[in-house]
Amino acid sequence: MTDTRIEQRAPRIGESAPRPDGIPKVDGSFTFSSDLWHDRMLWGGTLRSPHPSARIRSIDIGPAVAVAGVYAVLTATDVPGNPDYGLEHVDQPVLATDVVRYEGEPVAIVAADHPEAVRLALDAIVVDYELTAPLVDPGKAESSDPIHPDGNLIRRIHLSHGDQDVVGEVVVEGTYEVGMQDQAFLGPESGLAVPAEDGGVDLFIATQWLHGDRDQVAACLGIEPDLVRLTLAGVGGAFGAREDLSLHVHLCLLALYTRRPVKMVYSREESFHGHVHRHPARMWYRHHADRAGNLVRVEARLLLDGGAYASSSSAVIANATCFAAGPYRIPSADIEGVVVRTNNPPCGAMRGFGAVQTCIGHEAQMDRLATALGTDPVELRMQNVLAPGDRLLTGQVITGTAPVAEVLGTCADHPSAATLPSDPMSLPGGAGRTTDPEHVRRGEAVALGFKNLLFSEGFDDYSSAICRLEDGIATVTCACAEVGQGFVTLAQQITREVLGVDDVVLAPASTATVGSAGSTSASRQTWMSGGAVQAACEEVRTTLLTRIAAEHGVDPDELVLADGRVMSLACGLEIDLAEATAEPVESEVEFHHAPTSALDENGQGDAHVSFAFSAHRAIVDVDRDLGLVKVVELTTSQDVGRVLNPLQAVGQLEGGAAQGVGLAVMEEVQVLDGRIRNASFTDYLVPTALDMPPVEIAALVEEPEPGAPFGAKGIGESPSITSTAAVVAAIRAATDLDLTHVPVRPTDIALAEA
């Protein structure tokens, strides 16, 4: 990421700030991690297991070493430090040793002077596999032989809340299934490792958490963390898929071994095998209500398929369990959340993190309940929404803002701009000319959901930032990974707001210059790194004003910083900021959020910092005979605390909704017998402009959240939580079908038994 400087009354908090990388990304001049280059560099490549489950009898690298231009062929025995890594559980081998547990698991790595030599060398490695039957049914994981020394159960949470003997007058039950979604970022995994004189290595990489990666990489390399220096390279999307290590250790191993810079770029197909996906889910629910429509109890059994390695599964199942029933007041609950290990592709973080799957379940249930009660589904929700002071299923009382009723009301009541389709292209089937207006049935539905912000369950999370003010120019240093969320503009806006300057330089994000900023995930960076920048700037302001007050014998409280000047309204003092900061002022802070606690054996505890709520209303047209869907309109309201950058806020709401539409109607990594059948953008379909309707923003509900910088809540994940549930519900409304599998496939509609 290049330094960015903006002149002339540049945007403050609450004003639209265009992204410095916006135009370069559109015109192709932005440098992504895959564009990295070094004149002396070698190319790296990875040999992956073609089998989802096998024992490795032997690996013969001899023929590969003999390929002209090959500098290194490394296997597990060449990993000097910890053989395994992992985000929460260290259970994933850097390179497979005696077994492979999923299709695509890295087995060996190669460095050569040309990509073609890499390919020839990879082809030449001889691995003798003894195939074993893969465990592919998550329902059988716990009763099957362990496929990993840590066992097949990754985590079970049993949440028990309130009186367990409650039974409702009206009870609805349902079973739902969510397929495996991929983050489908456009920039595949890539990076460049450069060996350093001091025995360390510099790694330029597209990632979500530089320091988190650094510590894992250093442990595997067996060297001190400060010898591994990570610098953020241009990120082509992340959405959770860059939380885990991919080629990081491999690149560093090859660079240290060959003493040459090494670059690696995954192909698209390799990328599908090279990162975690959203957990597929099987969910059973039973909702109890009284005749008046008050929810009295919810029971649920949630089973997530974690795939071969743990990744962030433990945290995902915690979210799924805690938010299983949605943002409703429910006095009694019995929820079991289980995530297991199988020989399917590993699953982990993706935008919405466990709350996406359960929102699909609880919202389908709310609609069933409305039908059973004969009430309007929006009214039923409104009657049960959470409000400040209410208890969650975890027993936690909501102490922050929770404008749930307003979010739901504004979204549901927003006038629709949807008209009947006139252009044949905008009918279901689109360019395929399949559908005439008389084949279309329209459906409409609303979904409501929520999720925690920031890390939970007692994790002491923080971000670090340095602010330096010199010659009137502020320089902000923070290791926050910009993955598209907009920190680049935000750090500048916050600094300008606090220091009254226009010139703000954002230094490159690196582990070498500043402490950890934490992960760009969990909708946390605006709050955490934004908070760190705000605190650092405020310290700088205090130090500076104290110094000037002392120099001029005035009260520091009289002084203000504005428009590039230090001024006192009381005594008329006015000093140019550049002059005042000829001697620089610098401050470094570590910003922590309020502590949380672990969940107890009943899944109870004050485990979360804050919550964000959202609603979507979807209008869809469905061609029932062919099972084709056109999403006509999406309307949303979201609880945002405060809008810091309106342009970016709209971008997040639109992008998140597009990912939600994708999951509703097309996005599914199809896995058969442990193998991915559609590892390409030819067959893993994401929405095009014809599939994605305009997003109408009914309301950005601004109730400032205590403890958050400027009251702003994270907004990145909510849009992808409720959009899917709304679209699926609208398809149900149009077809009168149960549609329990998401994504809804054409065959689910066309061949459904009436």
Binding site: E269, G432, T435, D691, R745, P746, T747
Partner: protein, 282 residues
């Protein structure tokens, strides 16, 4: 690499190196190359051969150059002269793909999902083949021999595709899991020949090679009221749709199930027929 300027150039280069790959728009070939599935030593580049570009009319026939792009198929007179071809071309890929991809490339790839193939099948198109030695013509039904297999001989290229200009409506419909830029799950072309008093139907993605639904064609041919342009009896529309569905020989794959494909192709058949004969009882 040979950058051919004339068909003779290209044929001569091919004669010298019969293993050379022909490169037109590259929208199929380069996918294979980038995936490491297609390896080659020699390439003969066709996109600067003027003779392969464009199209001309010869009596009741259009001679479509192998280098005709999808973007060109949806412009000018082709949408009027061969509507189904223009409709099929519009469903292909994205604007970038339609600018680069060619008819010859689609025919030579001979994929069951190739979108021009059901149209060419319904039209009984003829493929003009040429080598340094020889020219020959094959009907489309004998050109495509299997999944991505065809009768092209080493040293041979496709010069043009001949289709009749018919008097009557034409329809192309394609089902995909996305509303644009999607590979066909099932597709259907229906062309009406008023002077020959027949209806011809080509099916895509429901068998290894594009199919004609001959039984369905024969049935419906006898039920049409040619004066009013309608199929008076609903039962005949149903029967037509059922016969088309029955003609399909689909498989289950990651894009769709065989059951769905058979069902969907029947739905497409009914809709295409009713669009072509709007006065019919639905």
């Amino acid at each position: 690499m040979t950058i051919a300027r004339t068909v003779d150039d290209a044929c001569a280069a091919l004669a010298e190196r019969p293993d050379a790959l022909l490169l037109a728009g590259g929208t199929d070939l380069m996918v294979g190359v980038n995936r490491g599935q297609v390896r080659f030593d020699d390439v003969v580049v066709l996109d600067r051969v003027d003779e392969l570009r464009g199209w001309r009319r010869e009596g009741d026939e259009l001679v479509l150059g192998a280098g005709l792009t999808y973007a060109e198929m949806v412009r000018g007179e082709i949408p009027t002269l061969v509507p189904a071809l223009a409709q099929a071309a519009r469903t292909v890929g994205s604007p970038q793909i339609r600018n680069a991809g060619t008819l010859g490339g689609n025919v030579a790839t001979s994929s069951p999902a190739g979108d021009t193939l059901p149209v060419l099948t319904a039209l009984d198109a003829t493929i003009d083949l040429r080598s340094s030695q020889d020219t020959r013509q094959l009907p489309i039904s004998r050109f495509v021999t299997g999944v991505k297999q065809n009768a092209l001989e080493p040293g041979e290229l496709i010069e043009a595709v001949r289709v009749p200009v018919l008097d009557g409506p034409q329809e192309f419909l394609k089902v995909g899991t996305r509303n644009a830029m999607v590979i066909s799950v099932v597709s259907l072309a229906l062309v009406v020949d008023r002077s020959g008093r027949n209806v011809r139907v080509g099916l895509g993605t429901v068998s290894p090679v594009p199919l004609r639904a001959v039984e369905a064609e024969a049935h419906v041919g006898g039920c049409i009221d040619w004066d009013t342009g309608s199929v008076p009896d609903t039962a005949d529309v149903d029967r037509f749709a059922a016969l088309v569905a029955g003609a399909a020989r689909p498989i289950d794959d990651h894009r769709g199930t065989a059951a769905y494909r058979s069902h969907a192709v029947g739905v497409l058949a009914r809709r295409a027929l009713l669009r072509a004969f709007p006065g019919s009882a639905p």
